[in-house]
């Protein structure tokens, strides 16, 4: 333990060296704005700025890129809350409660909760990372396709069992999202699949951001204008030092459970190869809702619904670094680019990295702590600017959101086909929303679909088509059973409420 603390001390010292500290501040600030821009996420920032890092030593380079990664995780929440458009896939779940809070005039509460939850999530994951790096990576590696599919099933089940929405409509929405995720080339056979009307634009699939921006940027805005008769002038959002302190207190009082769940679950999901921060944040939202005293408050503007995904995406981003450094396996697209950078710098990721390049690894770990602190400070410093955006007249804010949506829809894949598709999704979401179809499960499903389908097919291939593989494995079994119980929970509740009054009527 003392040895670890000694290494950590050296790492912290390295990361507060003037050059590294400056890189952290620039990286976090850049990441904050890149993350807040719809269509761009940490992956874009890290990919674009990777060549710049060849000008500095490897330790400073990775510190800079990790700072961008951290900043982007904080930044994603900003547009989710203030504009209702997820800045990045990792912040999709933040929209579910962040936007309703902003519409109620509580944007500062949502932003402060997001910042603090992100800080706590980052800190918890940093401590877990420092203490348990190599053994945790081995546990995560024991997760095979059946275990990962069981986890995906549980994420969908939480929406069905606890959504509080119309059950057939929720299941329809999940299946629709999963079908859209299947559009494009079939990963296993390589054959084109679901290419509607032979339009070639469908060959590259339906990007989740195209659906998310269409639903939240266009559909939600049309619905807001229609349902309020266009009488929204501005959001009554105010900001002062006093309100930041009181919002911090309220955010933590009502969101501590979500923060705790997000911090631990996010870290573990982040470690899983091919999972990363997006499934981590969506699952944490679902689980936080499951453990909430009143799950129906989620989706209406509950700080816990902001805290859980925000703590999770920060925690998962550190978690995803773990298999990358210890085993050379990236846990997310961003860490895949970081891995590429390390190879270019002449470093070999893997178990020997901790001994051969001790200064590099501990410098990076030390920078996680420093970046996390600066991300919190810089984020809170910018909150008044984000709040000011919300005070704009709605007739100014709305066209800006539409412009951001169109640019974001294009930037995601750089194809005009996707911009038209996004518009189509926007109109469809508007009509479906009017008829009480929940749209969030479709967004969740399109994000998790590319993980769910291959793991299901690989599992069934291992078992020669026998579905019992999901029940008789020690980790997959219990998760699958919990998921099935959750799916049938509404039915059980219905039976229970029918039995309960008849019991009450029975004279004792």
């Amino acid at each position: 333990m003392m040895e670890i603390l000694g290494h950590l001390g050296d790492g912290l010292w390295l990361s507060v060296q003037p050059v590294n500290l400056m890189l952290i501040v620039i990286g976090v600030t850049l990441g904050l704005f890149i993350g807040a821009m719809p269509g761009l996420g940490s992956v874009n920032g890290v990919a674009i700025l990777l060549p710049i890092t060849f000008l500095v030593p490897p330790a400073s380079a990775i510190i800079f890129l990790a700072a961008i990664y951290y900043g982007a995780m904080y930044g994603g929440a900003i547009s989710s809350i203030t504009l209702g458009i997820p800045g990045a896939s990792t912040a999709v779940a933040t929209t579910f409660d962040g936007r309703p809070l902003a519409l109620k005039g509580r944007a500062s509460l949502a932003l402060v909760t997001a910042a603090i939850a992100s800080f706590i999530g980052g800190t918890v994951s940093n401590i877990l990372f420092t203490a348990f790096a190599p053994p945790l990576a081995t546990v995560a590696l024991s997760f095979g396709p059946p275990e990962i599919f069981a986890l995906m099933l549980m994420a969908f089940a939480t929406f069905v069992g606890l959504g509080g929405d119309d059950i057939p409509k929720t299941i329809f929405s999940i299946c629709l999202g999963l079908v859209f995720a299947a559009v494009g080339y079939d990963e296993i056979s390589g054959a084109p699949r679901l290419v509607f009307f032979e339009i070639t634009g469908f060959l590259h699939g339906v990007n989740f951001l195209v659906l998310a921006i269409g639903v939240y940027g266009i559909g939600e805005m049309l619905w807001t204008i229609d349902s309020t008769r266009g009488k929204i002038t501005s959001t009554d959002a105010k900001m002062s030092l006093k309100s930041i302190i009181s919002d911090s207190k309220e955010g933590m009082r009502r969101g501590w459970k979500g923060t705790a769940i997000g911090s631990f679950l996010g870290f573990f999901v982040g470690i899983l190869p091919a999972a990363g921060a997006t499934p981590g944040s969506l699952m944490s939202y679902g689980v936080a809702k499951m453990f909430a005293r009143n799950p129906k408050e989620y989706g209406q503007g509950h700080p816990g619904g902001v805290a859980a995904p925000e703590a999770a995406n920060n925690s998962a981003s550190t978690g995803a670094m773990l298999p990358m450094l210890t085993l050379g396996i990236p846990g997310s697209p961003t860490t895949a680019i970081l891995l590429g950078g390390m190879v270019i710098w002449g470093l070999t990721p893997g178990p020997r990295l901790f001994t051969d390049q001790s200064e590099f690894v501990w410098g990076l770990i030390g920078s996680f702590y420093v970046s996390n602190f600066f991300a919190l400070v810089i984020n809170i410093a910018f909150i008044p600017l984000f709040i000011w955006m919300l005070r704009m007249p709605f007739t100014v804010l709305a066209p800006l959101i539409f412009v951001l949506s169109v640019v974001g829809g294009y930037a995601a894949t750089q194809d005009m086909h996707d911009v038209w598709l996004m518009l189509g999704f926007g109109f469809a979401a508007f009509f479906l929303r009017k008829l009480d179809y929940p749209v969030a499960p479709a967004v969740l499903a399109i994000v998790l679909g590319p993980i769910a389908e291959p793991t299901l097919r690989q599992s069934l291939l291992f078992s020669s088509g026998d579905p019992s593989i999901f029940f008789n494995r020690p980790i997959a079994g219990p998760i699958t059973i919990i998921a099935i119980i959750l799916i049938f929970l509404p039915l059980l509740k219905m039976i229970w409420t029918k039995i309960k009054p008849s019991k009450a009527e029975t004279p004792v």
């Binding site: 409509k169 299947a182 056979s189 054959a191 007249p393 800006l400 412009v403 389908e453 690989q458």
Partner: protein, 167 residues
Amino acid sequence: MRRAEIITAGILALFSVYLMWKSTELDIGYIKGEGPGGGAWPFWLSAVMLICTGFIALNWVRRTSPPSQSDDVFLDGYGKKMLLLVGGGITGFIALINIISMYGAMFVFLIYYLRILGRHTWAMTMTIATLIPVSFFFFFEALMRITLPKGMKFLEPVFNALNTIIY
């Protein structure tokens, strides 16, 4: 609202059937040594969607879902006008991108929305409509190195001149 609920359920049922049919272009059964065919996953998901639309219709008959109990109009005069002006405006914006570039279309759309729909002053309209495309140009083209659509050939000299500033 009640009529819209059943019509939408019908359209979604037809869409589910179309997806099932489309999925059969690839194998939907279990292939020995390869696992489930490429069409199996979307086929069975679409089948579940079809079953769900059946339940939505059943709830409509039993009048258990809120839209099936509602006598409100699905889209009233205001809704239709809003859809035409706002939805039509965004459609026009996207249609203009390939003609006058992303930045040009943004400029026109912002003038349309701010001046005609928002009734803001010309000074405010022109300030926002100019500042936004200019800042987007420098953010995307110069900082992020992402090129957004530049429209038809006649705009080439304009962008060539702008590119000399950033490169």
